[in-house]
Symmetry: C2
Subunit: 349 residues, 2 copies
């Protein structure tokens, strides 16, 4: 078999961290993978220079993952078609709101035998309601799309701190190929077939993490925060059961499930957002500008999307935690009411 | 039905926090419960005065739960028989190494119709191997014994911060009676019948928490710590499956399961111990004296007990996390080897 060519679509902090891993892995496994990796990078100017040129000269994404050297075989490419034209494996790792536009540009221009793997957190919204990003990619590009999600805060992965992750692939051989692409001694990959649940966890945990941040901001202790995480997990499980039938409980025990939830509720940016929502009167948009300097919080977007869908389906009362988090982010509910929401949760009835 | 008389056996920080809850509840539900509660307290001298007298004068356990007022209907009693002679419900909340001696003193001296509820974390060791504390209590006293366990760091419960807990009761009516005794708006009780798993979780989470503290002490981030919690949970589930057949996966989703694990791995004293094991060369005993001033860490005791049992049964390789934590506490394994143990965990094979 000819070596597979890998392209990375996206180059934020998580994209850059994953570029470091796969850039090194393809060099070590050059019987399986081509050693040059194109990384699509949305062009922007940093200190008067093009970011792609900085990355290709300095081998460092000085804007989104400063201080971490990228392998020299990872080439930043500002043209999405040039970056992906030869790809056998497309790694999608960009904010979920850009997926549709990028995929429409790629439609008909990539290899028909290619496979995709989505590292994206979030849902797409279309006329049918909520759609998984992997399904959206697969539908637009007419190729299979696997997923990778786990307790993987980007900065820690980039610093090679030990962690686990979960690959969702319905096809076992593809799952094994992706394990070879992503696994390192500090980044352990488990492969499961229940891809939808892997992806659902990755989107919903950011909503729960805002809730964890809210109780942090209120000065609550570890017990209350544990209750938020547990009740959030119960809503995640119920959401998967209702909207993605066939979801397996065992998947929630993988890294994509409880582990990612716990890591995100303690170290992630959405937790930080929740804390700031309590401690200030600023809007989410203002907090984004202040805290993330150009990137966006995924949690409030997902919370808004599922709120709309649950409202349409008359299911708001079954997901009170998700609902309260959306309303608090939208400044339509006082943060003080959050504890009442926990207290009166249907899990207690 | 005559109101039930409640006695509390034990008066450390958790015993005192629970005395506050049940002391208030029996006053509000005086059709169901007698309003006077005896709390057995091991007598000791504090600043030249008897601790029981201080508690009964000041209504505060100044040694183990300072700053928290206890209801005046909770009476500290230094004589174990006097404290329990009329009890219909015996709440056991004392370090697990004292249970056997106390129960043998009570044998034949309590009401034969009484029921017990154990809030104790840990296992008993006898000639048959490991025994649950609730089984030990039940066997010695010939009465049924329920359990209560959850994400309930004592100080936070005493300060009325919202949390959840799990009551394990094979008998539904007893479960409901206990819910009435313990539930408050800030302390939500769920009742399950799978009592053994509730108790197993309460014992084993302290072992996992030492592991979480070890990676904290090594300066690892949230990803690694999440992996410790997940792998620890997988060993907890396997332990329950092997040694307590009939254990239900759903119980691990209750407060006694993941929630307590997460709270303990972030806020508990066993986590603190793990951190100090890495940062110093002191023995567990020295750290106990230094950090707990007279109380004991439950985690190392449980880790030692299960290590002995697993070794006898030739099962050490199936529980590498538990084993490593015991060996590190015993200073027989270097803390640096802990990450290799995570990396090579059978869950990854």
């Amino acid at each position: 078999m000819a070596p597979k060519t890998v392209s990375i679509v996206g180059s934020g902090n998580w994209g850059s961290a994953i570029a470091k891993i796969v850039g090194n892995n393809v060099q070590q496994r050059n019987d399986v993978f081509s050693t040059i990796i194109n990384m699509y990078m949305y062009e922007e100017m940093v200190d008067g220079k093009k970011l792609t040129e900085i990355v290709n000269m300095q081998h460092e994404n000085i804007k989104y993952l400063p201080g971490v050297k990228l392998p020299e075989n990872v080439i930043a490419v500002p043209d999405i078609l040039e970056a992906t034209t030869n790809a056998d494996i497309l790694i999608f790792v960009l904010p979920h709101q850009f997926v549709q536009k990028i995929c429409e540009q790629l439609k008909g221009k990539i290899k028909s035998s290619a496979i995709a793997v989505s590292l994206i957190k979030g849902f797409a919204i279309n006329e049918k309601g909520i759609q998984l990003i992997s399904h959206q990619i697969s539908e637009i590009l007419s190729i299979p799309c696997c997923v990778l999600s786990g307790a993987n805060l980007a900065g820690e992965v980039a610093n090679e701190q030990f962690c686990e992750t979960t690959i969702g692939s319905k096809n076992e051989d593809t799952g094994e190929l992706l394990r070879q692409l992503f696994e390192t001694p500090y980044f352990r990959c488990a492969v499961v077939q229940d891809t939808d649940t892997v992806e659902v966890c990755g989107a919903l945990k950011n909503v729960v993490a805002i809730g964890a941040g809210i109780v942090d901001g209120m000065g609550s202790g570890d017990n209350t925060k544990a209750a938020v995480q547990r009740l959030g997990l119960m809503e995640m499980i119920k959401f998967a059961e209702i909207f993605f039938p066939g979801s397996k409980t065992s998947t929630f025990f993988e890294s994509c499930g409880i582990a990612d939830l716990v890591a995100t509720c303690h170290g992630g940016r959405n937790r930080l957002l929740g804390e700031n929502v309590v401690k200030s009167d600023k809007t989410i948009h203002e907090l984004e500008k202040e805290i993330l300097k150009g990137q966006s919080f995924q949690g409030p977007l997902v919370a808004k999307e599922i709120y709309g869908m649950l409202k349409d389906k008359d299911m708001l009362s079954r997901f009170p935690l998700f609902v309260a988090i959306h309303l608090i982010c939208d400044r339509k509910m006082d943060t003080k009411e959050f504890i009442s929401c926990l207290r009166n949760h249907p899990e207690h009835m």
